[in-house]
Structures are given as structure tokens and as C-alpha cells.
Amino acid sequence: MKAAVRMREVIGVLALLCVGAGLYLALVAAPSDEYQGNVQRIMYIHVPCAWNAYMAFVGVALFSVLYLITRHKIWDLMGAASASIGVLFTGITLLSGAIWGKPVWHVWWTWDARLTTTLILFLIYVGYLMLRNFLRDDSRLETYCAVLGIIGAVDIPIVHFSVVWWRTLHQPATVINPEGVKMHGLMLFTLLFNLFVFTLVYVYLFLKRFHLEALRWKKDRPLEDV
């Protein structure tokens, strides 16, 4: 157990150092965009946050499936940990998007398909966390939450492909673009590096949160074993 904790803290320190490097790349080293100027640098936060949100909610769905198959509490706790991190990053995605949208689009918010489906994604998992809270002492908590965790994930591809399926104000994907990557050199490297950094941050926060969820669960059941 001690080795696992040490491993987690090593990842945490590594993530922190990488965040520093990522910020340096994003704010100093990367060139400013020809069209948007320095505002475009918000992308280096916005896109990795959205990536983390996807990853976190795919995680919730995966852990939910594993729970339904094995009925082992550990998967439920992992789902809970991943969901709260996903909600956090979806929130930052929506906020950083608004901050980026105002100077570039001229609006903080608009009801286009990308923004609307992202807000729905946020609400689904806020609902998931609320459901966990309400069912705290209920034996059906794990099953109900696992089902919601799986159904909610349906929105992930809808969010991702919304810019392809519908007309939107939001532009299509830059990196995963059928016509090839629409960004090059140091700009692309900065984005990819920050995607990696945020992934590390997700892993660290997930492990930390999972530990917390496990402690919280054990606290109410001093005589049982996980």
C-alpha cells in the first residue's frame, strides 16, 4: 500500500512540474496566432480540459460496466472518483470556452450544438453526483449510478461530432481533422504536450479522489472489509 501511495505522489510531483513546463510553452514559447493573436493561447487550456472531461466520463462508463459485471464496490468508487473530476474539467471547459468566445466570436455563449451538448454532458454528470449523494444509504446506489454512468456516456460522441453533424458557431476539430492536422510546429507541440500534462493531472486527481472515496466509504463501515 505504501508503494502505491508513493507512486501516486511521484505522479503528482511530475504532473506539477509538467504543468509549469506546459504553461511556459503555452504562454511564452508558442507563437501567437496570426488571426486571433494571444487570445488563441486559451486553446492550450481549453482543449486539454475537454480531453480530460471525455477521458473521465469514458472512465465512469468503463468502471460502471465493470461494476455491473463483477458487483465489486471498488469499481463503483472509481466511477465516483472519475465523475467528479469529469464534472470539474467540463466546468473549466465551459468557462474557458466562454472566455475565449467573447473576444473571438463576440459572444460568451450561444446555443449551438457543440455548446449545448457540452452543457448537457455537464448536467448529466452533475446529476450522477447528486444521485450518489441522495442514495448514500441505499443499497441500490451502485446499480443506479452504474446505469446512469453508462447512459450518460452516450453524449460523449454526440459532443465530439456535433461540429460535424450540425452547423455550429464552434469550429471543427483542429488535430483530429479528416483533412489533416490544421496546426503545426511549436503550436502543435504545445497543444499535444498540454494534452499529455492534463492527462497526468487527471491520473493524479483520480488516484487521490479514489483514495478519498474509499476512505469515506470505509468510515461508515468500520467492521467490513473493502
Binding site: Y35, G37, V104, T110, A113, F134, R167, Q171, T174, G185
Partner: protein, 142 residues
């Protein structure tokens, strides 16, 4: 055990209500977030005086502004069809002829689209400021 049950029902109905509202309240509009100039021409009478959005490119050399830059007219084009737009207010910083824009407003009887809001739709492509220009910020943004 009755209390948490009611709470669950309230929570679930709140969430479902919020989603249904988003889907049916806004998504119907969102499905056609904006019309193209061609669709505006085809639907002309049926959509007149309705609140809607038109999207396309700002036609090159179509922008006219008064001295204070508070009244503008320009043309939104899809290459084949044009829509003339009148807008009262400051245009966005990144608004440019030849670039994408989406306008919100109503089509009037005089075939002019009176916009209440102008938004810039930018591409997914990002490029560094060319070396020559280095030292100063790009034309529009800082």
C-alpha cells in the same frame, strides 16, 4: 427509507426536465443554428420577420461603415447567393471581409437583414504570426 426516495424522484425529474428543456427548447433551433444565404432566398416569405441566424462569408468589399463605425452594412455570401445585412453597433474585433460571420436578427420586407448581433466564425486552422510582422501584435487582436 421513504424520505430519500422522494429526494431521488425530485432529483431525477429535475435532471430529466433540464435535459428535455435543453433538447426541445433550444435544440430545435440549434438543429438549424444558422441558415445559408441560399436558404434565405428559397424560404424568403415564410421566414420574414422571424428571429433567425444567417451564416456565410463576409463578401469582399461589401462593408460600409459610417464615421463612428456604429452603423454598418455588409453582405453575407455563400458564393452563389447574397444577403444584405444592416447592423447597429460595434463590429467584433475579428470581423473581416472574406472571413466567416454569423448574424442574428430578422429579414425585413426590404430584403435587408437587420442584425441585432454579429458573431465571427473562425476556422480550425492556427498559424503563427509571419516573421515579418514580428514585434507587433497582429492587426486585430492583442
Amino acid at each position: 427509507m421513504k424520505k430519500p426516495k422522494i429526494k431521488v424522484y425530485v432529483a431525477v425529474s429535475l435532471i430529466v426536465g433540464a435535459i428535455v428543456y435543453l433538447v426541445y427548447g433550444n435544440f430545435q433551433d440549434t438543429m438549424v443554428y444558422f441558415y445559408t444565404p441560399q436558404e434565405i432566398h428559397e424560404k424568403n416569405d415564410s421566414i420574414r420577420h422571424q428571429s433567425l441566424r444567417v451564416g456565410g462569408l463576409v463578401k469582399v468589399q461589401s462593408l460600409r461603415q459610417d464615421k463612428g463605425k456604429l452603423n454598418s452594412t455588409f453582405v453575407i455570401t455563400d458564393g452563389g447567393y447574397d444577403v444584405r445585412v444592416a447592423y447597429k453597433g460595434l463590429l467584433p474585433d475579428l470581423f473581416k471581409e472574406g472571413k466567416g460571420a454569423i448574424v442574428e436578427g430578422k429579414l425585413a420586407g426590404d430584403q435587408t437583414f437587420y442584425a441585432t448581433n454579429v458573431m465571427v466564425k473562425h476556422s480550425e486552422e492556427y498559424k503563427p504570426v509571419p516573421l515579418k510582422k514580428k514585434g507587433g501584435p497582429p492587426e486585430h487582436a492583442q
